[in-house]
């Protein structure tokens, strides 16, 4: 029976229109609806299904971030995770927290909790780094199975179908391993109200990066955050001839 660790991140809700702060130091997060990173939901679902199939004995969720990250952990617990670990990072350091820091934290937690599988979302929808799984695997010297769209545990090995450009790749890795979930891995369940209530009784352990011996001092500086360029307005052409003339002029035909 495997022990599974899932990484979760609290991000701005996927449906919210992102606004950049006027001073260009970041994006507006105050009073904006937040939620669990959708790819992490998929990772949680996969871990919980492993538990339901009696492949996993315990599922632990870990989140690095502000005090509010506990809300995300609570959602994870409501989906069926057994317990949570909250690695609290204050706002000043959270702004410059990078995947490398998170990987170091995940690797340390994985060793402390003696887990056999780490499942994370392939990327967070806020910074879109897509690095945490890879670097965690490297730090632990474990094999990695990224962009998973199907996971099958066979004894001491995991067979993973990976989403690659133009198709699927099937690989087999030995446990312990790191898996990152792609969009089509599964359909995550909804955290229902009664389950959220029940999740309040499940334990969340609060620690700091220094408890784990991980240095989260900034390795970069945010210089400028800008909106993406807006699309140029189109124009209506009166007839086919002028359309053709315009297309020729731009070199499209």
């Amino acid at each position: 029976m495997a022990r599974v660790l899932v990484g979760v991140k609290r991000v701005i809700d996927y449906a919210v229109k992102i606004r950049v702060k006027p001073d260009k130091s970041g994006v507006v997060t105050d009073g904006v609806k937040h939620g669990l990173n959708p790819f992490d939901e998929i990772a949680i679902e996969e871990a919980v299904r492993m538990k339901e199939k009696k492949i996993a004995s315990e599922v632990i969720a870990v989140s690095c971030g502000l005090q509010q990250a506990q809300e995300s952990l609570r959602t994870a617990l409501a989906m069926g995770v057994d317990r949570g670990i909250h690695v609290e990072v204050p706002q000043a350091q959270y702004d410059t927290l990078q995947p490398l820091h998170v990987s170091k934290i995940l690797a340390k937690v994985a060793q402390d909790e003696k887990v056999d599988v780490i499942i994370v979302g392939k990327q967070a929808i806020d910074d879109d780094s897509n690095q945490t799984a890879q670097m965690t695997a490297a730090l632990l010297q474990w094999p990695q199975a990224t962009f998973a769209s199907e996971v099958k545990v066979e004894g001491n090995e995991v067979v993973v179908k990976r989403e690659i450009d133009g198709g699927l790749e099937t690989i087999k890795v030995k446990l312990p391993a790191v898996i990152s979930a792609d969009l089509r891995l599964n359909e995550p369940r909804y955290a229902t109200l009664p389950n959220i209530m029940k999740a309040k009784k499940k334990p969340i352990k609060k620690i700091t990066p220094s408890d784990l011996g991980v240095d989260v001092s900034p390795r970069m500086q945010i210089v400028n955050v800008e909106d993406p360029p807006t699309r140029q307005a189109g124009s209506v052409v009166p007839d086919v001839d002028s359309l053709l003339a315009k297309l020729k002029e731009k070199g499209h035909i």
Binding site: Y14, A15, L183, R184, P188, T192, L193, P194
Partner: protein, 90 residues
């Protein structure tokens, strides 16, 4: 006390739906006012059998909303993270 049980069932259903309404695409207020109207419309019904049928329908609506949210999220992410050249993949 069948009446008390039925009442509890209805209140639970209402609470669950209200909770789900927080994620509704057209906004919580839109959802809440409609939900309230739908419940008020049937507030005069006292036949336990009929209440039971309506609660069943409410539970069906919950499943539908869950499916709606899931699909909306899936489609948004698929659009956001699929480039044109691998669109054919799924």
């Amino acid at each position: 006390m069948a009446k008390a049980a039925a009442r509890r069932e209805v209140v639970n259903l209402y609470k669950t739906l209200l909770y789900m309404g927080r994620d509704y695409p057209q906004g919580y207020d839109f959802f809440r006012s409609r939900l309230k109207k739908a419940f008020q419309k049937n507030s005069n019904i006292s036949d336990p059998q009929q209440i039971h049928t309506l609660v069943k329908r409410g539970q069906f609506v919950i499943k539908e909303i869950e499916a709606l949210y899931m699909l909306k999220k899936y489609r948004t992410l698929k659009n956001r993270y699929t480039t044109e050249e691998n669109l054919s993949k799924s």
